[in-house]
């Protein structure tokens, strides 16, 4: 299982950091959790390994709103979630994409994260479309993306999109793995396969 989700927790209080880390690690999201104490550290961590989510104490940005916004603009795909456990100026809270509060349950906290990551979207049914089957057959018979594109009169990008969807639906990414899938599903026969 790959861990694609990186959560940076920027929270000076050990109790809250450890608590949040434990909630995230148990959540099933399988994140990598990092600790940062300053905005600079967040930036360094980010440059090293892009982060999806920064969970941050409003105290850290209170007197650094400008640097916070610069950072936020620099990493536009990152979600910034405030951790609220005291009274904070609503204008300050408005700078976050979402907030979690000290009274939230673990489930509520995980739900906020999942919503940001879009993992709550219902999955599409795992049935291959006719077009996807066509692409799969050609792929299994040994054609490259470009050749498939020419043969079906579609762009190479469309071929790549089809391949992504096929892999998502079948759980198989490599061409040789997909070839076995195609044989099992009787979409191609062994005789059609290139050696």
């Amino acid at each position: 299982m790959k861990r694609d989700i990186h959560i940076i927790i920027a929270e000076p209080a050990a109790m809250i950091f450890e608590g949040l880390a434990a909630i995230f690690l148990k959540s099933g999201l399988k994140p990598l959790v990092s600790k940062a104490d300053t905005l600079d550290e967040i930036q360094q961590l980010h440059l090293k390994r892009s982060g999806d989510i920064v969970v941050i104490s409003p105290g850290l940005i209170q007197n650094n709103v400008k640097s916070y916004q610069t950072l936020k603009n620099q990493f536009e795909n990152t979600h910034w979630i405030g951790v609220v456990y005291a009274y904070n100026d609503p204008n300050l809270l408005a700078l976050f994409d979402a907030v979690i509060t000290i009274s939230d349950t673990s489930e509520e906290i995980v739900a906020v994260i999942s919503k940001m990551l879009n993992t709550l979207n219902p999955k599409e049914p795992d049935v291959l479309s006719d077009r996807e089957i066509e692409v799969l057959k050609l792929l299994a018979s040994g054609l490259a993306n470009k050749e498939i594109a020419d043969k079906l009169n579609i762009s190479i990008n469309t071929v790549i999109t089809h391949r992504k969807n096929i892999s998502q639906k079948t759980g198989i990414k490599s061409v040789s793995g997909l070839t076995i899938y195609a044989v099992v599903k009787k979409l191609v026969t062994l005789e059609n396969l290139s050696e």
Partner: protein
């Protein structure tokens, strides 16, 4: 991850209890070169006996238990040889034990019932195995000597250029490929390959794949989260010394 709970290990725990909680940690002990029986020894005892930094041991062990933090600046480059030794031992386990083991199970399935899909699966696995071997050899023969060289230059305060470099991004791509094909194989076995009264041997195959995947996953985490930052630290140190 396949253990039921994320037990966070500490130095005063008895190592036998730790293993009883998550038997996969037997692999960790083997890779560190620690042998059973463990009697009543604690983590600290075992580490002292085997000259392993306790923090390093706990970090690896906790990775096996699914507890993962960012380890920036946690370890000094004095640990680098222990890390490399650990990785070399796990390479040996892959190439001499678990991969040949899986291959022989696939061959058994194949000879018991010669189905066209299984022929393809065997071919798939053979190709995969040779890719993995190539990667392991690359690490053994290029990456590890490069790192050991860095370490020696620091110890001997020798600032000459070490020469051969390797690329960290290439490293990560290799890992992704290795894990991807393993996943493909699992998907095929669980979801698609037709059953032919061969449950026991399929189960054996699946369990071996899970065992391999479990260890490989920790292996790449150790390389990416601990080894690579250590190397960066050493390179920086040598640069600064110039």
């Amino acid at each position: 991850m396949y253990q039921t709970e994320n037990l966070h290990l500490s130095a005063d725990m008895r190592i036998s209890d730790v293993i009883l909680n998550n038997p996969y940690l037997i692999l960790l002990l083997e890779h560190f070169g620690v042998d059973v029986p463990l009697q009543e020894k604690t983590v600290t005892d075992v580490c002292l006996e085997n000259k392993i930094n306790t923090e390093l041991f706990l970090t690896f062990a906790n990775l096996y238990n699914g507890v993962q933090y960012d380890f920036k600046d946690t370890f000094s480059y004095n640990e680098v040889l222990t890390v490399i030794n650990y990785l070399r031992n796990s390479h040996r386990y892959y190439s001499e034990e678990i991969y040949p083991n899986i291959l022989s199970i696939i061959q058994q399935m194949n000879s018991a019932d010669n189905r066209k899909e299984m022929v393809l699966v065997e071919r798939f696995f053979n190709e995969y195995f040779s890719e993995v071997t190539e990667h392991l050899n690359y690490e053994n023969n290029t990456v590890f000597p490069y790192i050991t060289g860095l370490y020696e230059r620091i110890i001997n305060q020798n600032q000459t250029d070490g020469g051969k470099k390797y690329s960290v991004s290439e490293y990560k791509d290799h890992h992704n490929d290795i894990e991807e094909k393993l996943n493909d194989l699992k998907s095929l076995l669980i979801k698609y390959l037709p059953l032919k009264n061969d449950q026991p041997i399929r189960r054996k195959l699946l369990f071996s794949l899970f065992e391999l995947e479990y260890d490989l996953n920790i292996h790449s985490q150790i390389e990416e989260l601990i080894l690579i930052p250590l190397v960066a630290k050493m390179e920086l140190h040598l640069k600064g010394a110039k």
